[in-house]
C-alpha cells in the first residue's frame, strides 16, 4: 500500500461534467497520494476516460475542483465561480502531468527519438544534447533502444505505446495518466506495455490508469476506483474489491468480464 502523505498529490473534489443535458460526471471525488497507483475501472460510458482527461484539462468541467500538487488545474475560483485560466498557464500546468492515450497519438512526422525530445526541447527549452541522452536512456528503459530513428509508422502498436510512455516521462511529470493504454493493442503486445507500466509503479511513479485489464489492476494498483454512470460506485484495494465487491454494480461488472 501507499505511504500516506498529509496532502494528496492529486485531489478531485465534486467534479461535474456535462455535454449539454447529458451528465457525464456526477460529482466525482477522490485523492491520489504521491507514489500511489490508482486504477479506474467500470463499464464503457461510465466516465472513466472523461475523468482522467479532466485532470490535465483536456476536458472542461462545470463544477468542482481538481488540484495537482496543491495547484488548481485549468481554473481559478472567483466568487464561487470557475474561471478558465489562460492557455499559457494551463500549458505550464500540463507539463507536470504526463498522459498516455489509448491510440498512442505519436507524432508521425517525428522519429521515436524526436517524439521524446520535442517536449523537453521545444516546451521546456532544455539543452538538446542533454535531452537526447535522457531520451536514449528512456528508450532503453522501454526496451526500444534500437528503434530511436524509426518513424511511428514503422513500429508495432505495442512499440508505439512504449514510445508514447517514454515521451510522457521525458517531461519528468509528477503524475502519469493512462487512458486505456492497452485497449487498442494486439493481444500479443499488451504484455510488453503492461510490464513497462508495472516497472514505473515499482519505481514509485504516481499513476492514474483507466484499464479493462483486471489482472493488471490487481497486480499494480494500490487502490481501484469502480465507476458507473458518472459516479464512483466503490473505492478499495483490488484484491478485496475483486474477491468481495461491496456494491451490486461492481459485482455485475466483474461478472460481465468473466
Amino acid at each position: 500500500m501507499s505511504n500516506t502523505t498529509p496532502s494528496p498529490l492529486v485531489s478531485v473534489e465534486a467534479v461535474h461534467k456535462s455535454y449539454g443535458a447529458l451528465e457525464i460526471l456526477k460529482g466525482i471525488s477522490f485523492d491520489v497520494s504521491r507514489g500511489e497507483v490508482v486504477c479506474l475501472i467500470g463499464p464503457s460510458g461510465s466516465g472513466k476516460t472523461t475523468m482522467v482527461r479532466c485532470i490535465n484539462h483536456l476536458e472542461t468541467i462545470q463544477a468542482g475542483r481538481i488540484t495537482v500538487g496543491g495547484e488548481m488545474i485549468g481554473y481559478r475560483e472567483h466568487n464561487g465561480h470557475l474561471l478558465e485560466l489562460p492557455e499559457s498557464r494551463i500549458s505550464l500546468q500540463r507539463q507536470k502531468i504526463g498522459m498516455v492515450f489509448q491510440r498512442f497519438n505519436l507524432f508521425p512526422n517525428l522519429t521515436a527519438l524526436g517524439n521524446i525530445t520535442v517536449g523537453p526541447v521545444r516546451v521546456q527549452r532544455r539543452r538538446e544534447a542533454e535531452v537526447r541522452a535522457e531520451a536514449l536512456e528512456l528508450l532503453r528503459r522501454v526496451r526500444l533502444a534500437d528503434k530511436a530513428d524509426n518513424f511511428p509508422s514503422q513500429l508495432s502498436g505495442g512499440q508505439q505505446q512504449r514510445v508514447a510512455i517514454a515521451r510522457a516521462l521525458a517531461m519528468k511529470p509528477e503524475v502519469m495518466l493512462f487512458d486505456e493504454p492497452t485497449s487498442a493493442l494486439d493481444p500479443e503486445t499488451v504484455g510488453e506495455v503492461l510490464d513497462v507500466i508495472k516497472e514505473l509503479a515499482a519505481e514509485g511513479m504516481t499513476m492514474i490508469i483507466v484499464t479493462h485489464e483486471l489482472g493488471f489492476a490487481r497486480d499494480v494498483a494500490d487502490r481501484v476506483i469502480m465507476m458507473d454512470q458518472g459516479e464512483i460506485v466503490e473505492i478499495g484495494a483490488a484484491t478485496e474489491m475483486f474477491s468481495a465487491p461491496r456494491s451490486d454494480r461492481t459485482r455485475a461488472f466483474l461478472q460481465s468480464l468473466k
Partner: protein, 259 residues
C-alpha cells in the same frame, strides 16, 4: 503553302530561340510575381484558415466572409478595382516604393496585393481542409505535453498539414502563374504584356502567342516537376495516406481548380 496562310517561320524561330531582352524581362516578372504572390497567399491563407478554426465566432465569421468575397468575384475585377478603382476614388494613389535599388511601381504593388489576397482565399480553404484532416489525437497530444499553440503548429501540426497541402498547392501555383497574364490589363509588362507589346510593333500575332503559350507551358511543367519531388520528400515518413484523406484532398484540388 496553303494560300492565305501567313506565318513567318524565321521570325518565330528567332523570337523563340533568341528572344529580345524585353521578353526575358517579362518572363522574369511573371516568375517573381507568381512566387511572391504565392508565398504571401500562403501566409494569408494560413491566417484565414486559423480564423475559420478559431473558438471565437467573430473570427470564424470573418474567415468565411473573406473567402466568400475573394472566391466569389473574378480576379480581373479585383485587380482593376484594387488598382484603377482605388486610385480613381482617391483612397490611395500607389506612389512608387523604392526598396534599395529596386522600384516597386504602383501597378506592381496593386498586382501583388490583389493576387496575394485572392490566392489567400483559395489557400485558406486548402489549409482548412488539411488541418481538419489531422487526427484529433494529435491536438490532444500536443496539449498534454504542455505545448503552446504556436509551438504545436510549428513543430507538429504544420509539418503534418504540409504533406496534405502540397498536391493542391501545386495546382494553385499553376493557376497563379497562368493568372498573372491578367496583369497586362493594369499595364504590367509581364510575359503576356510583353508579347502584346511586341505584337503591336510586329503584327506577328500567331507566332508571338504560340511563343507565349510555350513559355507558360515551360513554367507550369517545371512547377509540376518540382511538386513531385516535394511530395516525395514529405511522404517519406509515412505509409500512403488513407484513401479517405486522399479522396478528400483530391476533391479539394478539383474544387479549387474551378475558377
Amino acid at each position: 503553302m496553303v494560300d492565305g496562310i501567313n506565318i513567318d517561320g524565321a521570325f518565330f524561330l528567332r523570337y523563340l530561340f533568341n528572344p529580345p531582352a524585353i521578353l526575358w524581362q517579362g518572363l522574369w516578372l511573371t516568375i517573381w510575381i507568381s512566387i511572391v504572390a504565392q508565398i504571401m497567399g500562403m501566409i494569408v491563407g494560413l491566417l484565414i484558415a486559423l480564423c475559420m478554426r478559431s473558438r471565437h465566432w467573430w473570427l470564424r465569421a470573418f474567415g468565411r466572409f473573406y473567402v466568400w468575397i475573394w472566391r466569389g468575384t473574378p480576379v480581373l475585377v479585383q485587380l482593376v478595382l484594387i488598382y484603377t478603382g482605388v486610385a480613381a476614388a482617391g483612397f490611395y494613389k500607389y506612389p512608387d516604393i523604392t526598396i534599395g535599388f529596386f522600384v516597386l511601381t504602383g501597378p506592381l504593388q496593386a498586382a501583388l496585393i490583389a493576387l496575394s489576397l485572392n490566392e489567400g482565399a483559395y489557400m485558406a480553404e486548402i489549409f482548412r481542409a488539411a488541418l481538419g484532416s489531422i487526427d484529433k489525437g494529435q491536438f490532444d497530444a500536443v496539449k498534454a505535453l504542455g505545448m503552446r499553440p504556436v509551438t504545436a503548429m510549428r513543430y507538429i501540426i504544420l509539418p503534418q498539414a504540409a504533406r496534405i497541402v502540397i498536391p493542391p498547392l501545386g495546382n494553385e501555383f499553376t493557376l497563379l502563374i497562368k493568372g498573372t497574364s491578367l496583369l497586362a490589363v493594369i499595364g504590367i509588362r509581364e510575359l503576356f504584356g510583353t508579347i502584346q507589346q511586341l505584337n503591336a510593333a510586329t503584327f506577328r500575332t500567331f507566332e508571338l502567342f504560340v511563343i507565349a503559350a510555350i513559355w507558360y507551358l515551360v513554367l507550369t511543367s517545371i512547377m509540376g516537376f518540382v511538386q513531385r519531388h516535394i511530395e516525395a520528400y514529405y511522404s517519406r515518413y509515412d505509409p500512403p495516406l488513407s484513401s479517405q484523406t486522399k479522396a478528400r484532398v483530391k476533391m479539394r484540388g478539383l474544387i479549387s481548380a474551378q475558377r
